[in-house]
Symmetry: C2
Subunit: 347 residues, 2 copies
DNA sequence: TTTTTTTGTGTGTTCGAGCACATTTTATCT
DNA sequence: AGATAAAATGTGCTCGAACACACAAAAAAA
């Protein structure tokens, strides 16, 4: 138990050489049945864990991993991802991994394609990317596949076999969480789901949240609530929202499906004397301010930092310690209010 | 950048031997100023990260770490800790650490003292423990200090210099989160904080939560709410609670400071036709059942698994990779409702 | 000037697993 | 039986950092 067995120990115990033990362990064949049995008998008796340290000493390759994500300058939502990547570098950089971050403009598909082409030319061992543009991502991932470059995705799920691994949230369930929170806040009246459509198309992801949101109230089947739905464009944002609110005097709660929740909060705070419950997404500075003020009641945390951190860490550990990469890793859907924000803002 | 520098590389670049480089790196002295400068010049130029793998190969010591926690058979709250410990074993066991779990009876201080005495006789390199009994824990930790055994604590914070490291929740803030949740659920009326006193004394920890709870409503300073406080003993639990509820017809919300929330739920569900909002602690099976049924509105997750996992992992990495152990690590205060429970139950 | 001490430098071995290669043993064929 | 092929087994080197030890050069003492 206290002893740390080595291949040599096993060889001595079995009365064979370490070469033979090695062949047994790796099923390399060229072992007589008698020797095989002798070694296996010992292996059954003791708990042999090959020393990971020695195992990797020989392999002095530097693995190269690229991370591709939207430029945080264009959308601050991605800001924490950078810090997640840096955490991995500081934790695992000494094991011989080279991590490069590549950014693309989330408003332009071309930027996404260009960045991928650039990465593919440099031929890294693996790529962790945000497949923001559905169609383009599919094509890009096939190219990676053909080049023998491993691909993991995070934040946005792509239903495709090319996507070997995904780290992120279950958006359907996330929508249900939002619904449940509104039910906690509002006893009866109109409840609206609001899509703030951003410049880039991530309609698929907003739809998933909507499905979950609606499914919750369907399951609830209560006469107290009346569901509404509304889309907001960046252009006529303010007037459109004001009109919507004016048209629905019984509006008691709003669920915003994107991180632009603060834009809605700005209006609600100004416009109405009577309280409308507001649930939205992501810990942007503006959102946090409204959360603390009380305009936003709950925020759902999508863990951008954690997503990048875990996705990258899994890739690194795959190369260094030969760990398996799970096909999908769904992160918990964190509910944030004004009181647990300080402790959650870190990641 | 792509090159992974070794000590040998640096030696060649500086025109000295690897022994000299080693002496410079470890400040072992016995290096002439000329040689020191030559080596440092190279070190400034390149980004040298000593290979952690090779570094530990030589050090083939098996570190022994004991984990001491209450027996999950006596209180299921601790059940997930075991799985957290096992995760560390499977993740880091191959690096040469021996982890032993020792259980004590949370209803008996003697059991705690006995278990510690047993651990101290076996002289491990470090101990991770739950300092459930304040006074006894202080004494015990001094003994560990004297024996040169590193101690980390989790779940319960002990205000003492002997506690080098703590992993757990900020209980004061946790009480504030509970208060905020009740405020979200209830618009006006009586709101009660309920202590279900368990057999063992953890009064200190319940008090912290209470302070936070009260501080929130003090800060709010709203005439809509009226705070109540009540203690429940295991013996006359049911009658006492029923009486309390009967005495306060305007009771609209209850905050239970322990994992025994389900006991309160049982009564609330039976007794009252009109809804009383209920916020409590921990993802016990019974609590989860009431959460899904709607009797419990929110549960605060104390992350028992994560606490044990992180506490142990930090100790292991301290020995294996010489990482610093933080003096305290406060885990996020997770809010759980019926919809995000499935994804959070895992840890 | 010679001997002793101090200080600086380089060399060689170790750790455990992996794998190439050498060597021994066993089986097959003339 | 002897030659040869095939299978089984053992040996020895590698990886990078750490450290003991040997040895050289310079400084101090005789």
């Amino acid at each position: 138990m206290l002893k740390k067995y080595t291949i040599r120990d096993i060889a001595n115990l079995a009365g064979v050489s370490k070469g033979t033990v090695d062949r047994v362990l790796h099923h390399r064949g060229k072992v007589s049945e008698t020797a095989l049995k002798k070694v296996n008998d010992i292996l059954d008796k003791i708990d042999f864990k090959p020393n990971l340290i020695a195992k990797n000493l020989k392999n002095n390759k530097v693995y190269r991993i690229c991370v591709l994500l939207p430029d945080p300058k264009k959308d601050v939502y991605w800001e924490p991802c950078i810090s997640g990547i840096n955490t991995v570098i500081s934790e695992l950089g000494a094991f011989g991994v080279n991590i490069e971050t590549v950014l693309f403009n989330p408003t332009q598909t071309k930027s996404f394609l260009d960045a991928n082409a650039q990465i593919q030319r440099s031929m890294p061992d693996a790529v962790l990317l945000v497949p923001l543009f559905f169609k383009e991502a599919l094509i890009v991932m096939e190219t990676y596949e053909a080049l023998g470059i491993k691909v993991s995705t995070f934040n946005n799920r792509i239903a495709s076999e090319a996507a070997k691994s995904f780290i992120g949230q279950d958006l359907f369930q996330s929508g249900r969480v939002g619904a449940k929170l509104l039910q906690s806040l509002v006893n009866e009246g109109d409840i609206a789901i609001l899509h703030v459509s951003e410049k880039y198309k991530n309609a698929v992801f907003m739809q998933e949240k909507e499905k979950g949101f609606i499914s919750f109230f369907n399951d609830l089947d209560s006469p107290n609530y009346n569901l509404l739905k509304h889309k907001l464009k960046d252009l006529d944002f303010e007037t459109s929202l004001k009109n919507f609110i004016a048209e629905h005097p019984h509006l008691k709660g709003i669920f915003v499906t994107t991180s632009k929740t603060h834009q809605v909060a700005t209006i609600i705070q100004k416009l109405t004397p009577k309280k409308i419950a507001l649930v939205g997404y992501d810990l942007l500075t503006e959102n946090i301010a409204y959360l603390k003020k009380g305009t936003i009641d709950f925020l759902i945390h999508q863990h951008p930092k954690q997503q990048a951190y875990l996705g990258l860490k899994l890739l690194v550990e795959h190369f260094i310690f030969e760990k398996e990469i799970p096909t999908q890793l769904l992160l918990p859907i964190d509910i944030i209010n004004s009181e647990n924000i300080t402790l959650s803002a870190r990641d």
